[in-house]
């Protein structure tokens, strides 16, 4: 574990890593933290700690202010244990996970599951309903058909896609909250893929746990795509997060001070394949059974990391009007969407603070 005395520069440096595709030279944020050292007047001054941990196919990290190394160690170790526990619960790569057991057995008969897993599935299917099916954790067979798992990308035939319709679709998953069971209608074999909401769910559980330990200032990241800020660094008003501008690489579109809230980003910059000069994205439109076209990046702020994680996909898939409806219906929820310039209005601001689209 690295640790730094509370010096603004060091910790800003660490945060620069959060969203990757830009260079620190573009901002000068050191002055934001000028007052931080002065306000740390506890008996034992707060020190800054940072640790990373591989999980859920990505790297989790925690930045935390604690009174000493052992306090930080405890909190961070418990937090990462919790992430590992949730990966054991929800991974679709591990046959021993509860989610895999459900995927395996729910076509035979209703599978009783524990309240936590059930709550996770309820929230995932809540977002399917709210987004008219744009968000759907049953799209696994599509990703497979398009070669996202092993083949490095392929374009399936129309008839192949149509044949997958029976294996995909959130409405085929039946949740019975009285019995706490999950079943797939018509004994259909299906797959549940936590990828678009599981990291957010894990972050929320860790946040609850850290609150329980009395942590007042910490920053959690699941691979940079789902972030949560507990409180703020001492003497500041929030944890700084920069949203890169995907249309003008190297530029920062928006700078947020995040506090007791989460921010999730969806983008096609990491999982995609290019064929005949065309970029195919790993985020699918369940209606067309095809990768979403024309969207570069979405960011969503919401008090719940589970929700912001799911919503970053919802606004990726849904058209702008429907997206706006979902986002603007709830106070505290904000979204910033970048689309490929030629197709639509390229920057869409939904309650986002400042004027992120102004310079775009």
């Amino acid at each position: 574990m690295h640790f730094h005395q509370l010096i603004g520069r060091c910790f800003v440096g660490a945060l620069f890593l959060i969203l990757s595709a830009w260079s620190p030279a573009n901002t000068s944020s050191g002055e934001l933290f000028g007052s931080a050292t002065k306000s740390a007047i506890d008996v034992e001054p707060l020190e800054y700690f940072h640790k990373t941990h591989p999980a859920m196919g990505t790297e989790f990290s925690i930045d935390i202010y604690a009174h000493n190394q052992s306090e930080a160690d405890r909190a961070i170790n418990l937090a990462f244990d919790e992430v590992d526990r949730l990966e054991d619960l929800l991974s679709n790569y591990r046959p021993s996970s509860e989610l895999s057991r459900i995927s395996r057995e729910a076509s035979n008969e209703p599978v009783t599951t524990d309240p936590e897993t059930f709550r996770f599935l309820q929230r995932a299917f809540y977002w399917s309903a709210r987004s008219e099916g744009a968000f759907d954790i049953t799209v696994g067979p599509l990703l497979r058909a398009w070669g996202f798992f092993f083949q490095g990308g392929r374009i399936p035939s129309g008839s192949e896609l149509v044949s997958l319709r029976s294996k995909v679709g959130w409405q085929k998953v039946i949740l019975d909250s009285q019995a706490r069971t999950v079943s797939f209608s018509h004994h259909q074999s299906m797959e549940l893929d936590p990828g678009s909401i599981g990291k957010g769910f894990a972050i929320d559980q860790v946040v609850t746990m850290l609150h329980g330990l009395g942590v007042t200032s910490a920053f959690l990241s699941a691979g940079g795509s789902t972030l949560y800020a507990i409180g703020a660094p001492p003497g500041t008003t929030g944890w700084p997060v920069n949203i890169p501008d995907p249309i003008h690489p190297g530029r920062i579109a928006s700078r947020i001070l995040l506090k007791d809230s989460s921010l999730s980003t969806g983008a096609c910059t990491e999982k995609f394949f290019i064929k005949d000069g065309h970029r195919y994205c790993h985020i699918f439109d369940p209606k067309s059974l095809r990768p979403v076209e024309g969207v570069l990046q979405t960011s969503v702020i919401d008090p719940s990391a589970t929700d912001s994680d799911a919503l970053s996909t919802v606004v990726f898939v849904l058209d702008p009007t429907l997206s706006r409806r979902v986002i603007e219906s709830t106070p505290g929820r904000k979204a910033l969407v970048f689309r490929r310039p030629q197709t639509h209005q390229s920057c869409l601001n939904m309650n986002w603070p400042g004027d992120p689209c102004g310079q775009a």
């Binding site: 021993s96 057991r101 009783t112 524990d114 309240p115 936590e116």
Partner: protein, 423 residues
């Protein structure tokens, strides 16, 4: 192939007991192994019965809550009451269950309840016997966490209480229910790696083995693993699972124990060693060797079974076979009736020293579910059908005997005897 004596030795006592329970009898020619596997398969099958069943828990701490989470995956289960001496557990349990669970400060009150079908005991080791014996005495079926008891005497009392009272008891050795471990050991029992003479296991951590303590007065309650009063240290907490598997594979309990340990890394007031080593002696000179450290978790949990024809590697996730080079065989004349010339080469093969390089042959199972999920479901099956658990009281006794006596050997710094299971 192995002869019948060895074959039966290789069976766990429970597997044989299970045979008679399901009425298949002791037909000398029936392959008992298959029967045992059939019984396990039956117990861990997805449950179709969702009739309501009420469970109480003593000690819903970290393991207790994990057990509850797993019990709630079985249709019809409701957690209705809990007993703990640390009040925050009750709220944690309510949050986990999603409904209020009756909170009792005294475990005797829980045992006295008439609305329970089973009691789960997940308290610190030193308290197991008190809680398990009370739960059995009140007529309840019990799922008791490992290690079964803190002393040999207590372990025997639990066996007597189960047998005299015809009670149902399952011990928390959930790897007995792990699909890949069962499949792999069944193949070992059938002779796939020859005669197993040595088993080597290590289970490591890379942390101080402490839990956060909200108030210094709670240190011994929360970090009970570090103090003699309730804990037998790493031998019990991690070693007991491996010892159970060694007992299972060897088909018996050990007869001698030799052990050592020290506090090497964490000089923080703890009493139990932060690293331990044990050598358990079984009949015919067979050995199980265990090691556990807490400041390096490389390949954290590994179990190796060594037979004269090959080896089996067992982990928390998978099982892999490796095979010894074939023994010398009588050469057959070539098909053409004439020998071809041999081409010389200067290459050196290191395979004599490095026979295990390479991926090995993994054991494939279709239902690689979490062993605790399977074990808890099997327990409920036994409660509903009055069947005998796979991980029954004798399984519990076998590993408890070895753990307790290894710890004695560690304290006395000499080899000591492990008493036989039945006296």
């Amino acid at each position: 192939m192995i002869d019948r004596r060895h074959f039966l030795q290789g069976l766990s006592a429970t597997a044989i007991a299970a045979d008679s329970l399901i009425g298949l009898g002791a037909d000398a020619d029936t392959p008992g192994l298959t029967q045992a596997e059939a019984e396990v398969a039956k117990q861990i099958l997805p449950s179709k019965d969702s009739s309501p069943l009420h469970i109480g828990i003593i000690g819903p701490g970290s393991r207790g809550k994990e057990l509850v989470r797993n019990f709630l995956r079985v249709p019809g289960i409701k957690i209705v009451a809990a007993s703990d001496v640390y009040a925050p557990r009750f709220q944690e349990l309510n949050d986990l269950c999603g409904y209020p669970v009756a909170a009792l400060s005294d475990f005797r009150e829980l045992c006295d309840r008439k609305d329970l079908d089973a009691i789960v005991v997940a308290t610190p080791l030193g308290l197991h016997a008190d809680h398990v014996l009370a739960a059995l005495a009140s007529g309840h079926a019990v799922y008791g966490e490992k290690t079964m008891a803190y002393t040999v005497d207590q372990a025997r009392q639990i066996v007597s209480a189960v047998e005299a009272g015809k009670r149902l008891y399952q011990v928390g050795h959930q790897y007995r229910y792990s699909p890949w471990i069962r499949a792999a050991i069944a193949r070992v029992q059938a002779g796939e790696i020859g005669t197993v003479t040595h088993i080597e296991g290590y289970w490591h951590r890379n942390n101080d083995w402490r839990r956060p303590v909200p108030d210094p007065s709670l240190e011994r309650l929360i970090n009970w693993r570090l103090y003699h009063q309730w804990s037998l240290g790493l031998l019990a907490e991690l070693g007991s699972h491996h010892i159970d598997i060694a007992n299972w594979v060897f088909g018996s309990t050990p007869i001698t124990a030799l052990a050592s340990g020290s506090i090497c890394r964490y000089h923080d007031g703890r009493e139990t060693d932060d690293n331990v080593q044990a050598v358990l002696g079984y009949s015919d000179g067979r050995r199980f060797i265990f090691n556990s450290v807490t400041d390096n978790a490389k390949m954290g949990d590994q179990l190796w079974l060594y037979g004269n024809k090959g080896s089996l590697n067992l982990t928390l996730e998978d099982a892999t076979f490796f095979y010894e080079p074939h023994q010398i065989e009588r050469a057959k004349p070539s098909a053409h009736g004439e020998e071809k010339g041999v081409t010389t080469s200067a290459s050196y093969r290191s395979s004599g020293e490095m026979p295990y390089r390479g991926p090995g042959r993994p054991v494939n199972v279709t239902t690689a579910e979490d062993p605790t999920t399977a074990a808890t479901r099997a327990f409920i099956y036994c409660v509903r059908t009055s069947s005998r658990p796979i991980a029954d009281v004798h399984v519990g006794l076998g590993s408890a005997l070895a753990v307790v006596q290894s710890n004695q050997a560690r304290l006395q710094k000499r080899e000591i005897e492990v008493p036989p299971p039945s006296m």
